[in-house]
Structure formats: structure tokens, C-alpha cells
């Protein structure tokens, strides 16, 4: 059980848990998706969305609508919901929710770092950042003009500083490929978050354990698959794997030595979940492994809602909502491109 267990959980977090479950009721249903898929134009799409939990969120947007606008507004709604929750949270939920924003923060920071390399105007870049990953010192980023300054002045003030300190030195910042830095940070973050969840114990530890282990494994497999044919060396690749997960340690060690797709297939063969996902992706030509992963993630996240009095639903809600935004974006994209052949790629959440 999370802090307080069944009997005391509600003292601090019951209200928020109930709210997040209320939000969950707003997640589009399969009937909603069926309606959305019937749309011929994005205007229809907007009309259909007003009938759902999204309501009039697009009413002030001038026509013609862009798919990005729709997605941005959907994301804004998610961010508003998340902020409403996180401002009311007390410890330790507050810390937990902060952890949830770190991935966005990593992405933002990486964007800013690349921008600073190019000596771009930082204030312009901030507009491009994910709103969930904004941090206080971001406004002061404008003063940083070189990567060194950025590192010394800004990064140390962010919650990400320990991850940076652990695995990225100042020299790496300029020498390494930015994608490697991103993934190194992500790895450090996942490991830290995993530790934190285990410390919380109870259902939180159990469910978050499942979700994060899957996340770690997925990253390991993705990184391996994607590194073939690139300049990423094997030892670098190995350093990007997390130190937990279903594949850890044996599968990870073997993945580090994998050379092609078929060897990856044979490595994940002994792991039932991944074997199933792999064959699901291979059997269906319209689906790739990533789609299979998304589906499984949704499945896991849905499971988190089956239990009460734990924090994993906050994480799960964020994941499900992101999937929903992806779905909306996908359907809108198909509609605007008038290409409905692949329309059914979206994953129904509930």
C-alpha cells in the first residue's frame, strides 16, 4: 500500500485519487472513437469532440483547423488537469507527481541545450517546450548563451541536476551526441523513479514496478533495435540500459551484444510478454513493434485503475491520456489527409 495504506491513504490523497478517477471517466470511449472516425472533415471532428469530455475546447480556434492545433489543445487540457492535481498534492504524492514531469523536463532541457549550441534565442525555444516540463529557472535561461553557462547556471538549479551530475559531465555536453545525453538522463531518471516507488511500498510499488519495468525494457529494446546501422557503439549502448526491468540483468547483457533484429528476437524469446508483443507486431504488417508496445502500455496502465489507494493511477492516467492525444492526433491526421486506410491504428483505451 501507498503511504498510510488502505486506512490512511485517503487522509491526504483520497480526494485527489477520486478526482483523477473522475478525469479518467473523461477518457474517450470506443463509441467516441467510432464517431470520430466517421468524420469527413476536421470541422466535423471538432463537432464530434464537443460531444465528448473535451467540450468546447476548440471553439475559439479559427478555421481551418490544423491537426497540431487540436493536439495542442488536447495537451493543454491534460496539463491543466495535471496542474490542478499537483497543486493540491501533499507529500509524498507531490514528489511523486514531480517525478512524472521529469521526462518532459529532460526533453525541454535537451531542446534548450541544442538551441544554445546554435545560439538561438532561448525565449523563442521556451515556447516550444512541453508545458509540463517547465521549471522555475527556465525564465532565467535567457541569460545563458553558451553551453557551459547553461550547465553551471541553470541545470544545477533544476531537479535534474543529480542526473546530470551522475552521468553527464561538462565535456560530454559538447562532445556527445545530444540523443545520447537525452537517453542517459532518461535512464538515470527511470532508475531514480523506480527506487523512489519501491521505497513508497505497497500497491504503488507493485504497480509502478510493473509499469516502470516495462518502460525500462521497452527503452532497452527500442534503443537496441534503433542503434543498428548508426554510429552508436555497443558500450555506449549498454550504458543507456536501465538497471532494472524484466530483462535485467541477463537479457540486458545479451541485448548489449546484439547485432541485428533477429538476434534481438531470439534474446527476448524467453520472456513471455515480449515474445507475444514481438510476434504480434511481426504477424501484422500494419503494426510495428512500437505499436505493440503502446498497446501493452495501455493494458498495464488500465490495470493500475483496478486497484485503489495507490499512486500508480496518476502515472497511468498520464500515460493513457497521452495515448488518447496520440489517437486524436492520428485520427485527425488521417481525416485531414483523407487517407482512411490506416485509420484503425488508434488504441481504444476504455
Amino acid at each position: 500500500m501507498a503511504p498510510g495504506g488502505m486506512l490512511l491513504f485517503n487522509t491526504d490523497d483520497g480526494y485527489l485519487e477520486a478526482i483523477i478517477r473522475g478525469y479518467r471517466a473523461g477518457i474517450l470511449s470506443s463509441a467516441d472513437y467510432a464517431n470520430l472516425c466517421q468524420c469527413e472533415t476536421l470541422e466535423d471532428f471538432r463537432m464530434q469532440l464537443t460531444a465528448t469530455d473535451y467540450g468546447n475546447f476548440l471553439q475559439n480556434e479559427p478555421s481551418p483547423l490544423a491537426t497540431t492545433t487540436i493536439q495542442e489543445h488536447a495537451r493543454k487540457k491534460l496539463v491543466d488537469e495535471f496542474r490542478a492535481i499537483s497543486t493540491q498534492a501533499t507529500e509524498p504524492l507531490a514528489t511523486f507527481l514531480d517525478y512524472l514531469t521529469y521526462p518532459y523536463m529532460i526533453d525541454n532541457l535537451i531542446l534548450l541545450i541544442t538551441g544554445t549550441f546554435k545560439e538561438k534565442d532561448i525565449s523563442e525555444l521556451i515556447d516550444k517546450c512541453h508545458p509540463l516540463g517547465l521549471f522555475d529557472s527556465m525564465a532565467s535561461l535567457c541569460i545563458a548563451t553558451t553551453p557551459e553557462e547553461l550547465y553551471r547556471e541553470i541545470v544545477v538549479d533544476t531537479p535534474l541536476a543529480p542526473y546530470f551530475a551522475e552521468c553527464v559531465s561538462l565535456d560530454d555536453l559538447t562532445a556527445l551526441n545530444i540523443e545520447i545525453i537525452r537517453n542517459t538522463l532518461y535512464k538515470a531518471y527511470l532508475e531514480d523513479f523506480y527506487q523512489y516507488c519501491q521505497k513508497l511500498g505497497g500497491a504503488t510499488a507493485e504497480l509502478m514496478g510493473l509499469l516502470l519495468q516495462f518502460e525500462a525494457d521497452r527503452r532497452a529494446i527500442n534503443i537496441t533495435m534503433h542503434s543498428f546501422g548508426t554510429s552508436l557503439r555497443k558500450n555506449e549502448r549498454e550504458s543507456l540500459y536501465c538497471n532494472f526491468g524484466e530483462l535485467h540483468p541477463e537479457g540486458i547483457m545479451r541485448l548489449a551484444r546484439a547485432d541485428d533484429r533477429s538476434s534481438v528476437a531470439s534474446i527476448i524469446e524467453p520472456y513471455g510478454t515480449y515474445r507475444r508483443l514481438w510476434s504480434a507486431a511481426m504477424d501484422n504488417p500494419d503494426k510495428n513493434l512500437e505499436d505493440a508496445f503502446f498497446e501493452y502500455e495501455v493494458y498495464l496502465a488500465k490495470q493500475a485503475f483496478d486497484q485503489q489507494f495507490h499512486y500508480a493511477i496518476f502515472y497511468a492516467y498520464l500515460r493513457l491520456k497521452e495515448q488518447e492525444i496520440r489517437n486524436i492526433g492520428w485520427i485527425a491526421e488521417c481525416i485531414s489527409q483523407k487517407n482512411k486506410s490506416k485509420l484503425n491504428k488508434y488504441i481504444v483505451v476504455f
Binding site: N177, E179, H226, T230, E333
Partner: protein, 266 residues
Amino acid sequence: MASKDRLPVVPSRLSLQQMKTKYQGASKGHSMLKKKSDALMVRFRAILKEVYEKKLEAGEESREAMMALAQAKYAFGGELKHTVMETVKDATLTLKTVSDNVAGVQLPSFFKSEAEPGEDGGGTMMLTGLGKGGESINDARDVFTHTLELLIQIAALQTSFLILDEAIKLTNRRVNALENVVKPRIENTKKFIESELDELEREEFFRLKLIQNKKERERKKAEGEQAKVANNVELLTPFNPDKFANPEKATDLIGVAAGVDEDILF
């Protein structure tokens, strides 16, 4: 016959000869340019068809590409565009041109030249989506590269199209100029020179006839007055150039004039 339709020449045999060579040159140039224009036209038609087909094909292709991109965005998230745009540094895909010579017209064709992705710089895009979305991003990259190849071909064709169009117009203009301006003008000049020369001949002939008549009359008068001095007359006649030259020249001239007249007629 207005004077501007012919070249300003002094009508003489020499200039007539010059005109004849000029006319030959113009005819030869005309036929050669005509051939060039035909050659260009053949190429042009081929390109026309290809441009048309390729453009429609590219339309289809880019639909597919957009779909693949949507998939990449689906897998990676909406920030893909920012990530991609901020990672841009040096182009890894550039063009090289090779020109092709068609009847003296340089037609460029473009070739894709891919730089080897560098250890850190050029290959940045290769690692985008390492942790998630990489597969879809790679797919999108492939489709877009393919579309781009098609577009490059179209670009080459289109450039050729424009150049050829221009070249054909130019050649046709020249052909027409030769046919409708230069050649008639030379012909007119030729006619003019010939008619002038003719005129001169006729004048000369008439003059000679007059002189002959006069001489005849004088001779008859002299015969009547000094019939007895026959030896002197016989001695004098061979020395008179008119007596020998006139009849020959006269026939000659008429023959030439008739020939020219026939020429003019046909």
C-alpha cells in the same frame, strides 16, 4: 518592291555572285536549324510526358510520406518537429549536377549525393527517437528520401523543360527569321540586281543599235559619195570594233537576259 526589302548593294555581277552564296548559306542554315529544332522537340515531348507523369506520381508519393510522418509523430510525440528542426546542422543530402548536351543545348540533370553521416555532426538525425519512436521515424525518413529522389528527378526535368522551351522558341524564331525575312530579302536583292543588270544590257543594246544604224546610214552615204574609194573602205572596216562586236554582243545579251527572265519566272 520597297527598297527596305532588299539589301543595300550596288547592282553588279560581283554582288550578284555574293548574293547567290549568301542565299545558299541561308538555305543551309535554315535546314540545319530546322533539324535542331526537331531534335529539341523530340526531347521536349519526351520530357513533357515524363514531367507530367512524375508530377502526378509525386503527388501520390507525398501523400504516403505525410502518412509516414504522421506515424512518426504518433510514435515520438508532437515535439518531433522541434527536435528535428533544432538538430539540423549540415545537409547530408545534397545535389550534384551533370549536364547533358542535346543539339547544343545544355540540359542539367541532378543527382542526389549523400554525405557519409559523421561521427557526431551529420548523423545526429540518425539517432533521433533512439528511446522511442525510432522505428517509425526511420520509416518516415525512408519514405521522404524516396519522395525527394522523385522530386529531384522532376526538378531536373522541369529545368530541362524550361531550358528546352526557351531553346526551342529561340531556334524556331531563327528558323522563321531565315525563312520569312532573310531568304526573301536576299532573293529580292538578287532579283533587283538582275533586273538592274538587264536594264543596263538593254540600254547598251539599244545604244549600239542606234550607233549601228547611224553608221549604216553614214556608210550608205559614203558609198554613194565615194564609191570609187572601195579599197580604203575595205581596209577601214576590220579596224572598226563595232562592226564585229556588236552583233555577237547583242545576241549574247539577249540570251542572258532571256535566261534571267526565265529564272525570275520560275
